[in-house]
Every structure is written in C-alpha cells, then in structure tokens.
Amino acid sequence: MALHQIDAILWRSYMTSTSDALWGTRSNQYYIDLPASDYETFFAGRAEQSTDEENNPTFRIRLEPFDGHPAVAQYQIEFEKKREGIARAGSWNINGQHSDTAYPLWKSGRGPSKRFQEMGLDEKKKNFIIIARDVEGKFHGRWVRAEDFDELPHRIKTLLEQKSAGWSLL
C-alpha cells in the first residue's frame, strides 16, 4: 500500500457516451465529455497548454504510473475546452479515449466489472472515472465501480452523489 494524500478530484459518472468511447461501441465517439467547469484551476498550473487545429484550448496532464498489477506506465491525457462560438461552448472533452487508446485503467475489462451490462441505469451511474490530484500536484486516474461506491471515503462519496461530473477540492 502506498498512500498519497489527495486534495482534489475530478469525476464523471457513467454515461452511454462514456462506454461508447471507452469500449468502442460507437466508432466515432473518441472522447469523454465533461460539463462546463473551471478545470483549469484543477490542473493547478501543471498542465501543458496549447490549442488544437480548431482553435480550442487544450490541456495535457500526466497521470502517475499505477504500481499495482498489471502496472501502467505514466500516461498523458488531453483535455479540450470548447471555445466560444461553437457547439457545446464551454464544455470539455477528454480526448483520445477510444477502446484502443483509452487510459488502461478505464478500459473494458479493467474499469467496469463483468456484470456491468446487467446493471440498471441507476447502478451504472454509480460507476465513475476519477482523476485525483495529490498534495504534490500529481494526478492519478482510477475507475470506481458501483460495487465499491459505498467503500469510498465519506467526503468523496458525498461529492459524487451531489453531481454527475465536475471537480472539487477535498
């Protein structure tokens, strides 16, 4: 066990579009969408910023290596903020999250449990992707299964129950 104190989390509960992207159910869904929020603050100045070819600001952060089994190397993840004047202006995407390119801990077979497809929508929505920021400003990605939801620390559980997506200090 190697515990690192965390001071903020970013989360997104399960949506059909999430599985469409992560598990390749729809070939044209390559991203996980996030509602508008000031995720720039969550990145705490640790993101590399640029703009994509459509002039949307992008932010790249590195998820720390996962030291369990099987281990996952450091992984770069890109956020894209939809600029003003276009559809979904102000909302965000986590790019490059298709079945073959997604963050390994979120992929089918590792993230959701085997009985995921049998779950009703309410239970499915207790599945979350989470990016935690530790007190040294490093980021850690995880999938929270519905089966493990009640085991979460009270503070995190409360936040996840309040909103389906967003970020917050802890």
Partner: protein, 390 residues
C-alpha cells in the same frame, strides 16, 4: 474574482503567496477565508485526509491520518523585529541570577510555526508585509523561504536543503517549545510551511518590499473591477441604489486611474456590507451610500488628491455639478486672479458636515450618471463602428 480556493491552490503550488492591491480590495478578508479553508482542510475534524493508493486498482481511495494544520497571523510594523519573528532573547524572572531577571532564548512566530509544521502543515499569514523592515525581520530565514531549500515532503533532506544555525544556542543545545517540541540548533525548514502575505499598493510612504523577499513570493494582484463591485453592491431588486453605487465607483475609479494610476483605485470593500445595498430597502440604502461617501470614500479621495486640488475638482466634477446645486461635501476655494498672481493656489477641504444627506445623494446620482452616459456613448460608438457603410 479571486477566490480563497484559488489562493490556497496557488499557495500549495508556490508555497509563498503575496496578495497585492489597493485598499478595499479584500486582501485581509481573503487571507482570513484562506486561513479558514486551510485549517478545515489540514486539520480536519477527525484529523483524516483522503488519499489514493498507487498500488490499488479497486478501492484505491481511503482515508489517512494527517498531521494537524496550524496557523498564525502577524502584522508587520516598524517595531516588529527578527527577535519577534524568528528567535530572540527575552527577559525571564529567575532567582538564579543577580537582580532576579535573566534572559532566555525564545522562538519567534515563524520558528515556532515551522517546528509545529514538521508533521503537518502550517500557514503563516503576514498582513501589511511592507510596513515592517522585512529583510531584517526574516534575517537568514529568507533563504529558507525558498521551497527547494527546504526538507522534502516526507521530511527527508534533499541535496539542496539548507540548514541554518540558530543564534543564541550553544553547540548541541536545542530549543524546547512549551508544546514539548525540540528545535535543533541546525534548523531545516519543513516543506509544508506556507506563507500568505498582503501588501497595500497605495502605501507609498512605506519603502517598497525588499526585492529578495519579493522574488520568493508568487504575487496575486487584486485590482478593483466592476464585477466585484456589482457583487459587493448586491443585486438591484426593487430599487436602483446598487447600480448607482457601481456607476459611482466606476466613475471615480476611472478618474483615479487616469490621474493617479490603477493602484490607487477604490475597492469593493468601501461599499456597505452585511447587509449590502441590494439587501436594504431604498431609503436605508440611500442613507448607507451617503454615509459611505461621507466617512469612507471622501476622506480617502481627499487624501489621494491632497496636493492636486485641480485634479480633485475634475474627477469629482465639482464645478460642473455644483453649478447644478449638487453639493458633494467638498468645498473648493479658488484664488482670485490677483491672489493667483501672488502665488495663491486653489484648495479643497472636507465640508461634508455642511451638506445634507439629500444634497449629497443628489450629487452622487449626478456623478454616477456620468459613468452611465459614457457607457451608453461607448456602446453607441461600438454599434456605429460595426455598421457596414452603405
């Protein structure tokens, strides 16, 4: 608008943060909010904090005990010294010495807080940092303010960690705090001692802060802006006094900015709060705004323009508005041409006691309407610019 969360986040990243801005922009208020947030976060009701296990894929989130957070607030002034801040000798009643009074080594606020932060996190708040002689107050500890000269997060020593030999202590002597913590003579700064300082941009009577100290701080500028004014005035409900107050401050800040510079503008904390104007009924709000003008804004304006009466006259539109029988509470005295020839100069004095509430409110309404008119003109001009030529 800068929030306490923004400042805490900046502090956790940069360790030392300086809030810099004119009076009334909420520096001290923000510091207090950050202190509350910090203590809530680092003390925790049960002393537990959330953590992620980097080896667990499922059930990776857990609670872990953390050291208690602690915080101290100091205000620098001309009499504040290294002995108060870092370490010094204090008189102590003692039967063992002749005269009954001896000297004992006492830790100052910074050293004490740093020692308490070894197993947790500490926040030092320094209000008015430029009012003291900061380089003398910090002494050799200025080196230890740099994050990379400190211990690592886990308390181990890095290649760049600097040890400072504390004065007044004999070799191998330690300094024992009342809490029982022992501070070694060779002192190393813990990683998680954060500093949040404030500095008033208008304090030109005070020497600017030492550059060595300034460069160790991440500076957050707090500028008066319309959004903060609107928020402080409160939403206009059944009456227009909040909007009038916003227009008034907008007009004043424009004049102040143009003639003195933006660092002299008036912040939103000059406005009445708890309740704010929007939460009052119209008559109460009008009285509150007049009172705010009489006792907070006007004295500050006369101080700012004390050696520039002509600018004061212009910014307050004294001649223009007083010709319309609006009385501002400022009395303008202009010399005759003969007196001017002899070297006399115009002057303004605070005559608010001679103006009635009604007079002043009427004056404020007229002054504020100048901002509203300008906004309309600018809006019209923008529209004109955008109209394609036929």
């Amino acid at each position: 608008m800068i929030s306490a969360e923004d400042v805490l986040s900046a502090m956790e990243k940069h360790t030392n943060v300086l809030l810099y801005g004119p009076p009334g922009t909420g520096k001290s208020y923000l510091m207090k909010q950050v202190q509350n947030l910090f203590l809530a976060k680092y003390s925790g009701a049960a002393g537990l904090s959330c953590a992620v296990d980097t080896t667990a894929e499922r059930r990776a989130f857990a609670e872990m005990p953390v050291g208690r957070g602690c915080s101290r607030w100091v205000t620098f002034h001309q009499g504040y010294a290294y002995e108060d801040f870092v370490i010094g000798l204090r008189p102590q009643a003692s039967a063992a010495v002749r005269g009954g009074v001896g000297l004992e080594v006492r830790a100052g606020v910074l050293l004490e807080l740093a020692a308490q932060s070894v197993d947790g996190a500490g926040l030092l708040l320094i209000d008015e940092i430029n009012r003291g002689n900061a380089s003398r107050i910090f002494g050799e500890f200025i080196t230890l303010m740099e994050p990379d000269k400190r211990l690592r997060e886990d308390g181990s020593e890095a290649a760049t960690t600097v040890a400072v030999t504390l004065p007044y202590l004999a070799e191998s002597q330690t300094l024992r705090l009342e809490s029982g913590i022992e501070i070694p003579r060779e002192f190393r700064m813990p990683r998680r001692l954060y500093t949040l300082a404030s500095m008033n941009s208008v304090d030109k009577s005070i020497a600017p802060i030492d550059s060595a100290i300034r460069r160790r701080f991440y500076v957050i500028h707090l500028h008066p802006n319309k959004q903060d004014l609107v928020s402080a005035a409160g939403a206009a409900g059944s009456h227009h006094v909040p909007q009038l107050a916003v227009d008034l401050f907008d007009e004043l800040n424009r004049g102040i900015g143009l003639h003195l510079g933006p660092e002299y503008m008036l912040g939103q904390f000059y406005l009445p709060s708890s309740p704010c104007l929007g939460e009052m009924d119209e008559v109460t709000a009008q009285k509150a705004l007049v009172e705010c003008w009489r006792f907070k804004v006007l004295p500050q304006l006369l101080e700012l323009f004390h050696d520039r009466p002509a600018v004061c006259r212009k910014v307050l539109a004294l001649e223009h508005l007083e010709a319309k029988r609006s009385r501002s509470g400022v009395q303008l005295t202009k010399p005759s041409s003969d007196e001017e020839y002899e070297g006399a100069a115009e002057f303004v004095v605070n005559a608010q006691a001679e103006a009635s509430d009604k007079d002043i409110y009427e004056y404020l309404t007229r002054l504020a309407s100048r901002a509203a008119s300008r906004a309309m003109r600018e809006s019209k001009s923008d529209d004109d610019d955008g109209t394609p030529a036929s």
